[in-house]
Symmetry: D3
Subunit: 265 residues, 6 copies
């Protein structure tokens, strides 16, 4: 695994100028995830996955993650009224992504993977990427290719059945639940205290959102489903599934994109 | 049904000052929906639903819809590279929503329903609402309540089973498919030409997005699933389900919110 | 008359690719216009004119109007403190126009007419157009031509003498007066209730503006001159004059602009 | 006449804390005005008027003028394609005005006159003022009163008849014509070279605008009407009319506005 | 040392509600620092200092650092044309800081220390803080106190004489030089490779800056002075001086600021 | 000395089209400078220097100065809480600079010197210049060269020793002190009243900044060091040193930059 930030610039430059160079940019959040877990799983998990995928690729690097994300929504993260959750305005997040991509393109990078770990970020990442591609067209760069993914989209139905024998309530309600807790138990056991897990029924939400949020709809724990059934073994399985799936997707997708000889401007 | 724009201002003011006043703001898009349909279902459908719900409520009005929405995404709308699709930057859409809410609040309105008809709008509506609520706090308005909903979230599993006996592929792939086409056949038959429906397998997408979009992943029709099985009868059912569900939700939610006597600033 | 939004995308694309394609974009407002009239004349009138002009041209279409405009000014619209008037910040409006033009240009459109129906919009339309042209230069598009017009500027002195035998007080004071009311009586008689017209002397304003507005300077009706003399016949005359004048202007101006073969980017 | 910038801060503070304190903020432009005149009349003239009005008031000061304005429009300034014309984006100008007002309010100033010298600035001044008032409401300041004026609006019909015996073509076409040239000959004779005046018929424009501008519609001189009949005597008359009118307006308007004891925040 | 992100939200909330709670927010950069060092010293060093200071205070926490900073300037960082350096627009950085502070204030935090590690960030941090304080005033929060510091400002003349017996060329030229390299050797020896240090005379710059940058003025190494004399011992001394100085400053300054009982809004 | 604003546009255009044309843009502030001096030294001094340098160059002009600058900081200007100090948000200032440069480039100017007179402006000027250069690249302009300087950086150690025989406390503390006061006594004696100079020890500040500012740290005078030793003779020396140094720098730097034949777009 290669952390871009841990390279000196000459080594970095040399890697960028080598065929196939690809950068992963993890995009996370600082968000409450229940009383049993730290507030950084949305950044630690995609970073860990990016690290592992990088190990499996020829010339990939991981850029420093974006540690603050878009505002937590009640039906997918408990809501942005919760203490600890620390979020950016949407335009701030989109501009951050646009700016970082602009700089990577200036270095000569043409292959970037935005690795999202926080559901609410998705559309603001899309907007940042769209603005960056618009800018790069203005600079005459036409061979920039950017992948956006959220790691849980690589967890297939088979794995879901295996991990949730009692039934799966959907990724939205997984906030602070089995998936994230298992991954954190596997990756950062010190940041999970299973004795503090609050077992509760999955949150139930109406088919709409109210603003300001009605706090009583969020379970008192801040989690949307119970992490009771989380285990490090499930975390290992999830990690393997995501790393394998993303590695394959990246390998396949980017090998099919022609590289234009295009010195960075 | 009461169109806010069709009232004279004195009548409008009087309605705003009457207990329980509520405004629906439809948020749509101008987006291709296949060769068999006009490009405005995302604005006409939520507007029609808002009109019908308004008929069932005591003192509700429909504001002029926002006719342009956020950029179409490939996996839910075919992609923003398609001809005809005409989209706003995310920040522009959020600011539009913030501004309109600010003005409604100035009039004295405290109950607003954002009725979304275009999947990609959701998070930018959320951001606009969040900015508007922040502003209204600065003005000392503390009793503003805003509901955000997308009409398809009111179509329950029973209805889905009834309408999709052959199986349901998810709302994302419904772009230009059975749901939207049926609703348009019911509401605006002149804007649908079923002879031009292109029957095709549902689009298949990988668990990630590429930018720029690979146009070959979007079916040539621009639709993501076939509208072949669309009928006006299904549209009528959908309409009834959405109107009933939204009416009930609005009635229940807003009756439970206390009205503070709060003259508009 | 061809509504862009009512076409399917393939038909739209085909029209865009046909010689001489031109798009009208009506820009209106949601603004009080006195107790005798709905709040949407600033959007309905330019839309109706655009529709009629489109009928007289070979390959023209009307895009969905922008339904919310810039803040009403006291001396031309009664002021933005009035209930019902629902306005955007200037930057929001300019960005909306910039974004829509950017998208039309992406489709391949090179001839656009901004049809304004709300006096206060003018400069923010200009700014949106200027930003859009700057962007399109960055994309290498050099043959984009945009016309901005306000329909009342096509009402010549002869017509004014005919319609205002008792004397004309200027377009500014026409807010909710004879011109707009006559046009609405001709076009949308159901949205005018002449029994509610409040007859009053034209508003008198000092040669400056105060902010916050002194509401006592705006007539209690919200109109700036009396609509008492409005008739549907005058509306028909105005409509004919505007449609003829604008048709001629568009025909003449755009036929003289060379079409560069320029595939949309 | 008291220039705010030429005071030391303690003297300034003392004046602000004295009853009736009022600040004039001239808003100008750097814009070509024909071959016979400098490019700064739009800032020098309102500044000179503000200076003279200040002499006639008890406790008024002139803030440093804003020297760059909004983009010149063809029908009122020749167009922003002209060399020398140096303009700001609309949002930049509005934000500049908002920021300056915010600071004056912080000092304790509650009476401000925006003295405009450039037609195209008007709406962006309005927007800046609106944003500043919104901000000041958020800070609990409710007694801020701002006047916006363009000096030529104080030139009445009598003066027009006297100065334009041959007929008046409207303020728009006065760009670089008799009014501005006469005022500059009176105020800054060194900045006018009457030998370079190009005598031409008033520009004729269609009732619409094209973007990009068709440069051939702007007279080769850059002026929109001939300055041939300009004289310093006319400038003196105009100056007197404007100074008297504005002094009277300010005296009357601001004496009627109650002063709330309101320490600056 | 307490990492805010590693706490669960209930523990965090409890700490925030406890007297004297203070948050450190490190603000760094991703910037080349010569061939002998990683590109993250500007974020790792302030983070390490914040961690150590936190250990010495009763109830302090460290928020996740901002990992991307403002554009590198030639005379203090080699210039933003260098490969690897990855920077944000100024407004993006200011908005990020404003947003994070807004959220901390929402949690109830009233004491924040912005710990800067990248010279070029300073003024954009100031702007972000100013905007955040303005916002918090609008929310009625009047007891927010924010300290901004750059750690090297705590290195006094005595230490400088001790560490630079051969003479000190100023903090600007210390980019990638003795100070940063020594600190990194002490804190993160694995991220320094002293064998790659390029020994060169301090960069010499004229008393002005050119844009675009003339790359030949930046030493080929990217460092502005030689790190040859860097040692981990010097790093330890620097660390001790900074940690002690900042601890004392924070203790003294914040103990003197009264705590208003002020529940977060 | 040639004031751009005092030229007619044809003369200006002719000068721009002549080899070597260069524009100085002074960037100042409206900021308290103690009880003994006006609030405009930060704009008058760089303007005077620009004027004098222009006299010594072949084809240089001075554009109208930007009269409002970034927020005064306590350790370099007393703080932005001071009465009289009237500042812009950072983004407003950067956009102003970006816009003016964009326009000069449109005219055909390729050599611009930003002459700063207010310490706090520096980084926002840098950002404005960076944004302008980015834009000009999008327009295909590749030969734009911009110098940014603050005049005091041209005062060398020899001059400092001569002017401050009693010892020099650094440029930061020179706010309203010997340098600025001497220059104003030399250039604008009427704007200085030496009888009001408050003699005090140099301000002492901790190595950090607090927001909101603790006003007690700013000397009651608003100056950061005493102007007691200011004389017009010192002002003359400073003026000579700056004018000579800047003239030489500009001559040398710009003669070495090749002129590409590049008609303005």
């Amino acid at each position: 695994m290669v952390q871009m930030a841990e390279l000196d610039w000459m080594t970095y430059q040399s890697r960028v100028n080598t065929k196939g160079c690809l950068i992963f940019l993890p995009v996370g959040a600082l968000e409450q995830h229940g009383p049993h877990m730290s507030m950084n799983p949305d950044v630690l998990i995609p970073q860990a996955i990016a690290d592992a995928v990088t190990d499996r690729l020829d010339n990939a690097m991981v850029a420093p993650p974006i540690a603050y994300g878009y505002k937590s929504q009640q039906q997918s993260g408990g809501g942005n009224h919760m203490p600890g959750t620390t979020s950016l305005d949407g335009h701030t997040l989109s501009c951050t992504i646009r700016d970082i991509i602009r700089e990577l393109v200036r270095h000569g990078v043409r292959r970037i993977v935005l690795m999202n770990g926080h559901y609410e970020n998705s559309m603001f990442i899309v907007e940042g990427v769209d603005l960056a591609i618009r800018d790069s067209h203005h600079n005459g760069v036409e061979d920039l290719n950017i992948m956006i993914l959220s790691y849980w989209d690589f967890v297939g139905d088979d794995t879901i059945k295996r991990l949730y024998p009692e039934g799966f309530t959907g990724w939205d309600l997984e906030h602070g639940g089995v998936m994230e807790t298992s991954l954190m138990m596997h990756l950062y056991p010190d940041l999970v205290d299973i004795s503090k897990i609050i077992d509760h029924e999955p949150a139930e939400f109406p088919p709409y959102d109210m603003f300001p949020v009605d706090p009583s709809l969020t379970p008192a724990s801040g989690t949307l489903s119970s992490a009771k059934n989380a285990t490090p073994e499930k975390g290992e399985i999830l990690m393997k599934v995501c790393v394998t799936g993303i590695t394959d997707a990246v390998r396949k997708k980017f090998s099919s994109i022609p590289i234009i000889s295009d010195p960075a401007r």
